[in-house]
Symmetry: C2
Amino acid sequence: MNIGEIARRAGVSRSTVSYALSGKRTVSEATRRRIQDVIDELDYRPNAAARALAEGRTRTIGLVIPPATARLTHMQLDFVASVVEAAARSDLDVLLSPSGGDHERSFERLLSGRRVDGVILMEIRVKDARVDRLLREDLPFVGIGHTAGDHRMSWIDVDYTTLIARCVHHLADLGHRAVALINRSPELVAAGYGPGLRAAEGFAAAVAERGIAGFEYACGDDTAAGRAVVRRIHAEHPEVTAAVTLNEAALPGIQQALEDAGVRVPGGFSITGVAAQRWAEDFRPPLTAADVPAQQMGAQAVELLVERIAAPDAPPRHILLTPPVSLRASTAPAPSLAESTQARVSGSGGSTAPNGR
Amino acid sequence: MNIGEIARRAGVSRSTVSYALSGKRTVSEATRRRIQDVIDELDYRPNAAARALAEGRTRTIGLVIPPATARLTHMQLDFVASVVEAAARSDLDVLLSPSGGDHERSFERLLSGRRVDGVILMEIRVKDARVDRLLREDLPFVGIGHTAGDHRMSWIDVDYTTLIARCVHHLADLGHRAVALINRSPELVAAGYGPGLRAAEGFAAAVAERGIAGFEYACGDDTAAGRAVVRRIHAEHPEVTAAVTLNEAALPGIQQALEDAGVRVPGGFSITGVAAQRWAEDFRPPLTAADVPAQQMGAQAVELLVERIAAPDAPPRHILLTPPVSLRASTAPAPSLAESTQARVSGSGGSTAPNGR
DNA sequence: CGTCATTGTCGAACCGATTCGACGAGCATA
DNA sequence: TATGCTCGTCGAATCGGTTCGACAATGACG
């Protein structure tokens, strides 16, 4: 069942079998055939560990995911799925490693034994110890997300600052004068979660530029938190007529709370933000939002990593995506001041545009 | 950076270093210290490939997941997360492989190079080619889910037949005389998806036993399909006053469609079924359902696999879980016949019991 | 004091591939 | 005919560990 056995049965040396398989030296058509026949008959596949040892590479990449305790968002799930799929297309295997919390051992195991040729890092913090660790280890890696001003790594990310600002401008254009930002969980943002911080920046800047009132709310990643945050907004700032969010997981809760309060979307309250397309389309009415092309991002992350493995000394590349805001049906002109405290029954307000991709 | 270098610096032979690390032979305390000091100083970790080659095992398990094209349910996500976490606790790495669709290459790669010590199979069909493939390969594996009557494999599964039947009995006890089963997608069930088939069996049996009317509906795994199926049930069988489901992903759509129709849950319509606890608690009102302990199942699957790797010839073990139906608030006595065509506004009908685990 | 078991260490073989240098056969060229 | 190339193949070294058998030193025992 090993290469020696194949060689013996085909009546050649082990090296010839190896060359026949890899094509790295010429092998006569006759012997190649003979070897291939034996291989097919015995269903032989080279041992991965032996090959990795000899070649010095494992044909495996590591994917560092948030720990299981944190409920994965659909977007993160799409990242994982597309990374695995893209890797398979490049004949790479994917080793999963939860990180954060008390799972640093798993992360260390990934790096330590030269088990992988490269690493894809998800859920990167603005200041992230794992980046330094990987740089020290001299292991190629790319981020889905990026640290603050680190030019020593390749990454692909969504430009939350710009996108959230665009959403605010969209609402301001519709006449909203007081809007809320529904951010991710307080712990996450406090820990330096990039998208959360950058969204807050973009929100603050756009609100200031348009001279409207803006209120930022942290919100946990679940339905209950979504319900709670809507209630808080209504209670603390009843003048708010629209919200911008990047918290996908809270969307169902937001929807429920608005319904409970008898507020119509978009007539009485407008919602927009940044979300994976699936979530946007599940929302009722369909969410006007910048669609994060998560599937494509996973594939591109693998591409970047493959490049980086092939040429570790090439300058890192950075891809910052700014997908267009797809106008669906969850935003409408602000209710006039007279009506603003009372839900208005109205039809869809936003115009519908073809979905940008 | 290899074991020879450590040996040289510590002034001992390579084998001594190996024994000092593994503890498989006694090493004097003095040399052990000296070796450890060198290791700490150089931050040495044994090369995984070399170790795998020598030991004949990789300390890695494979996890075969549904392809990315199929949207993963929360339950499946919980499986993945808990498997990865449990594996990490046993110092095992997890290699991910999407299977189904055109991803058989990835599955083959997993098996072929002896890349993993064992495999966990998700989303098993009643008749599953991958099971035969794994048996042929003589690779230890366990299923989350099980084939029909295959005693050659270990598995852990939920007893959908019994659970769905219990849900029907619960509804019948409440006086419902016509109920629907909202199953998984037609393609999935047609392909021999175990839970779908077993749920249909349990449903049919219980409905017959109680002498009530039962209608089975297939339903895609998304919000839109959930909305559609509710509309179909109302249109084709207006006498139906309750539904049983194992289709988690359709729950939000079911909820939306009932709201749109002005039907109150549970006053006008009762819903129950089998779901991951998170989904059940996100439903409004909280779903009376058998909570699938997905997290625990992933961990137990890893346990089973570790056992199987340690003792490949031991008889396979089967774990069939029948979690209790947690009474929450989505079921109530059937509306009287006079009222049945009209939504009734009523409070919570189901009694609330502590959550069984 | 000779014998024997125990302890600690070493050298060599081995796991299963890749890869490099060498070399014989066949053929064209001088 | 001698020389030099190319082509196809082989043997041996190598990757970085683990493990087995051997063996010297030490202490216990008769």
